[in-house]
Symmetry: C2
Subunit: 363 residues, 2 copies
């Protein structure tokens, strides 16, 4: 070094993530033309074949504003960068501009993929989420986590890119197969269990009506779950702290899902098993009472029966070690001190999860 | 609609883009171990074969901290999502964590691609830029614009993701072929012309020593250009206003580059022609004086000779229409009122660019 180098500091800029307006209620989709947001008034629609009924309502609402109408293969196996490329091809051919917006109509894979495409197209355009599954309504469509899978794990390539609006219309889930409907509700109850004891109690009392898809009961649960998620995300948009509470049931859940090759278990089903194990560990480590533990298990049993997971510790262990939230500090576990009160416990050893997985039961 | 829908506002979060520390000086690379940033102390190195000398210096500096050493094909034709996938494969196989960081050692394609990979891996990890070309030192490595190309145009898929540090060591450009060295200097002079009349005058006087790669003269120009870019980016990180000034020469430049299939002209060469045309339009529309116009052309002539561009209006027009900064408001042109004073003029018709392209000359 001949002389002192020159140094320039380009300061950190407080550049806001955009706000998200969430609309919840039966019939909200009929107002899509007034509620969906695009700076230019032009939209790119992305939807899978399974969401056709809801997508048709959005098509009618947006009518002349649609510049592209893109079909998405929303199977987990197709949730990859090739899907982003395919959306980019169609959107750019249609002349996408920076002031246009994407609308994703579908389940969690659709909002993850279309939201990520919006994050990277022209270095970021606005998007809107219209979830059509209970899982996406309660969880996936809210909060700005978007992305695709990599063979090393789920959602390993992505962005934080919140939608401008989320339209949660319980009627959009009308055609949902029973298995998907029930699996998605696990995430809704999860939200109640970690942060809203009143919602948990009310929804447990209403479980028959919820499972019968009674509009008012279902809307109450989904709205409560959305509110929990929105409150937590608002306080921690980039998942550096509080937001980890939303991963209740997911540490083991992700490993169970991966060990089943993403075929044996739906995401919500894997989370149900993960919650079952987390409840046991919460009894021992976090003081969760026997009666509250039983009340959670009772709801999980009603939401099931769920397929048996692969419990082989040798198969599960490598996936536990790959947890995306792992840092030099090791694995973190979300445990319940009581219904409605979750806390992150650092350093619960993987073996404890594997032991819980070996004996957990939902009968 | 049966009843009023519920509405939840998830507020906009002031989530800062990280700050960038830029270090400039001969020998800065020798301090890489102390200057490069990674929260975990672990790094993923990405570099093309052409940057081996500089990459070797970084390898030595980081020694045990390297968890992956990834070779990049940095030709423009390989600047696509497949390159992102390839980096993801290697980085994730190596066990990348959220607190690890990427180091990009190379030219503009390298920082664009590796920076974009860092933006989307695990939804965003830190990265550092070590530019090895004059173009990347003066422009590409600073400011957080990352991305890859699409057949519809350059840099159409990407993210705003500023590097934590940029190490600008003029010695890293020592092995640079003469043509690339000169093309890159166009971006450095561009920075002076739009925002720093003193730098423009000093660098014009020093042009012989700069072209002879004399360390002190070259460092002064690169440091000045970096400061101009940093100042502008700091005031407009997401290119909503002032930052468009950096596109001086780029409206027509991008079209010339595209019309040549990204083979006939280097980026900096296309920008030189674009500046030549913008100077003519600035004379007529923005009051640029004849003497200042001549002083700019004189420098461009010294930086050349540049290959003849494709001037065919029929070939250029479609690329002009595709300008990424085009919105409903139409094309914007960056013009000079004086050396060191640029302004955006809205609505300069494409025909005016095509007319200027037809007659421009750098002899």
């Amino acid at each position: 070094m001949n002389e002192e180098p020159e140094s320039i500091l380009l300061p950190a800029e407080a550049e806001p993530l955009p706000s998200t307006q969430i609309w919840i209620g039966p019939g909200v989709l009929e107002r899509a033309d007034r509620l969906l947001r695009s700076p230019s008034g032009r939209f790119v629609l992305v939807s899978p074949p399974g969401a056709r009924a809801a997508a048709d309502r959005v098509r009618r609402a947006l009518a002349g504003g649609l510049i592209a109408d893109i079909a998405l293969d929303d199977r987990e196996a197709s949730k990859n960068l090739a899907a982003i490329e395919a959306i980019a091809d169609r959107a750019l051919e249609a002349g996408l501009r920076r002031d246009d917006a994407v609308v994703a109509v579908g389940g969690g894979v659709t909002s993850d993929v279309a939201g990520f495409a919006a994050a990277v197209l022209l270095r970021g355009v606005a998007w809107n989420a219209v979830p059509t599954t209970t899982g996406a309504m309660a969880d996936a469509a809210i909060g700005g986590k978007t992305g695709v899978d990599h063979r090393a794990g789920k959602n390993l390539i992505g962005a934080f890119h919140p939608p401008r609006t989320v339209l949660i219309d319980p009627r959009a889930a009308e055609g949902l197969p029973e298995r998907d409907f029930r699996a998605g509700l696990v995430e809704a109850f999860k939200a109640a269990w970690i942060a809203d004891a009143g919602l948990a109690a009310a929804s447990r009392s209403a479980i028959d009506r919820i499972l019968a898809r009674e509009e008012r009961a279902l809307t109450s649960l989904l709205a409560g779950a959305a509110r929990v998620k929105a409150d937590i995300v608002a306080s921690d948009p980039r998942e550096s702290g509080l937001r980890r509470l939303l991963n209740f049931g997911h540490t083991l859940g992700h490993a169970l899902e991966a060990a089943g090759g993403y075929e044996r278990l739906r995401h919500g089903e894997a989370v149900a098993w993960g919650i079952c194990a987390a409840v046991e560990i919460s009894r021992r480590r976090a003081g969760l009472s026997a009666s509250e533990s039983a009340s959670i298990r009772e709801v999980l049993v009603r939401l099931g029966p769920f397929p048996e997971p692969d419990r082989d510790p040798g198969r599960l262990a490598p996936f536990l070690a790959r947890d995306k939230k792992a840092t030099a500090a090791g694995l973190a576990a979300v445990l319940l001190e009581a219904v409605g009160r979750a806390r992150v416990h650092e350093g619960v050893p993987a073996t404890e999860w594997l032991d819980a997985a070996a004996i957990m039961s939902l009968k």
